[in-house]
Amino acid sequence: MLDNKDLQLQQLKEILLNGTQQDIDDMRVILNSEEKLGEKIDPILKKHVESIKTDFDNTYGKEVESIVIETLESSPELLLKVISPMLGRLIKKYIGIQFQILRESIDQTVKKATSFSNIKSTIKEKLFGIKAADEIIAEFDKAEISEVYLIERDSGILLGSYSRSNTIDRDMIGGMLTAIKGFVEDAINKGNESEELEMIQYGNHKILIQNFYNYYVAVVISGTISASMRNELSDKIIEFANIELSAISQTEINSKASYISNKLEAWFK
């Protein structure tokens, strides 16, 4: 039996906690019923999942990136596993280019030693002091960059361009080039994503394509381009991307067309 003091305390608790007790009981009912709890929580979860889906990059992009970098740094084996297929392809490609350069060099040497022009050049060099090498360099100078495009990889949206002449709408060129590239890669690769279109040739023109993760650079060249020149151009494009584009975030790149176009002109004019 409660004594007087306990009774007073009980009455005081009932007076003070009357509304709160009802709330606690209601909450208990909700917590004990999966269906009622679901009604309350599901819309909140759904809203949260939707916000993650639509804004994942902004909300968690940096954290995910730092986790990936940390994981790769702490596990060289994992890093090797990730990059080894890519490295293999790069080495294969590099060896191929080097062989092509060597072959061209041998061809040129043989041609040079046996050609009429070489004999003529030698005579000219003896008589007038004009070196054969200068003439060969002049020959190479014929190759000329006429257009450069930086294009978003999947959408084909033009991110920037440089052209020596007025051409048809450059946005459409970016789109069609991406469509052709996608078509060739889909049709020939059959799901093997590792190989990509790197060159399109028509007549005396070549479109060299340097692929990056989110975008690609297409360079239109007129004239003859040797493997070594192609190699140099490829290095230049990579250098351009490292210096000019690496600081621009993926979300910003779509709105920097004039900046990128100016940079392309400065690098490739």
Binding site: T54, E152, G156, G175
Partner: protein, 161 residues
């Protein structure tokens, strides 16, 4: 000016290219459609005070969308799925096609459009639209131009939002 890639797709013979040509002055020959299955063009539209460049990819019609090279859809912000109001067979794979496209582009804006309204009467239009399993966003006619500009502005406004 922001740029957005929009895909125009659907079964063959539904009038996608006619809608495309009605909306933009086509600078590329239609032969691209038969050779690589896509033709790209651009139109700048005004959305509010801003201009938006729509890069429109007209994809050659296939019976179902999984026959189209996946790369054509990648990076698209919007999809216009066209069917022919006068041929119910063009709605046969619509549900599966839309589900497939939603999987490929979970954040893409999708508009379902019934074209060739000039070939059928109002009663038929209402019947066809009511029988669809999915909501038809707009009824158009590439021939008369009915709702063509409205369609691209509608999608432009959603893409800008």
């Amino acid at each position: 000016m922001i740029s957005k890639k929009v895909i125009l797709t659907g079964s063959f013979g539904v009038g996608k290219t006619s809608l495309f040509n009605k909306f933009v002055y086509s600078k590329f020959s239609d032969k691209y459609l038969t050779t690589i299955g896509v033709k790209v063009n651009k139109k700048v539209i005004k959305v509010g005070d801003e201009e938006m460049s729509i890069l429109l990819w007209d994809i050659a019609g296939e019976v179902s969308q999984d026959k189209v090279p996946v790369s054509y859809f990648l990076g698209a912000s919007g999809i216009i799925y066209v069917f022919d109001l006068s041929r119910s067979v063009t709605t046969k794979n619509m549900k599966e096609d839309i589900e497939y496209l939603k999987r490929l582009l979970p954040n893409g804006v999708i508009k379902i459009v019934g074209n060739k309204s000039d070939l059928v009467n109002q009663e038929t239009i209402e019947k066809v639209v009511a029988e669809l399993e999915l909501h038809c966003d707009l009824v158009t006619s590439a021939k008369t131009g009915e709702n063509v500009e409205e369609l691209f502005h509608l999608i432009g406004e959603e893409l800008a939002a």
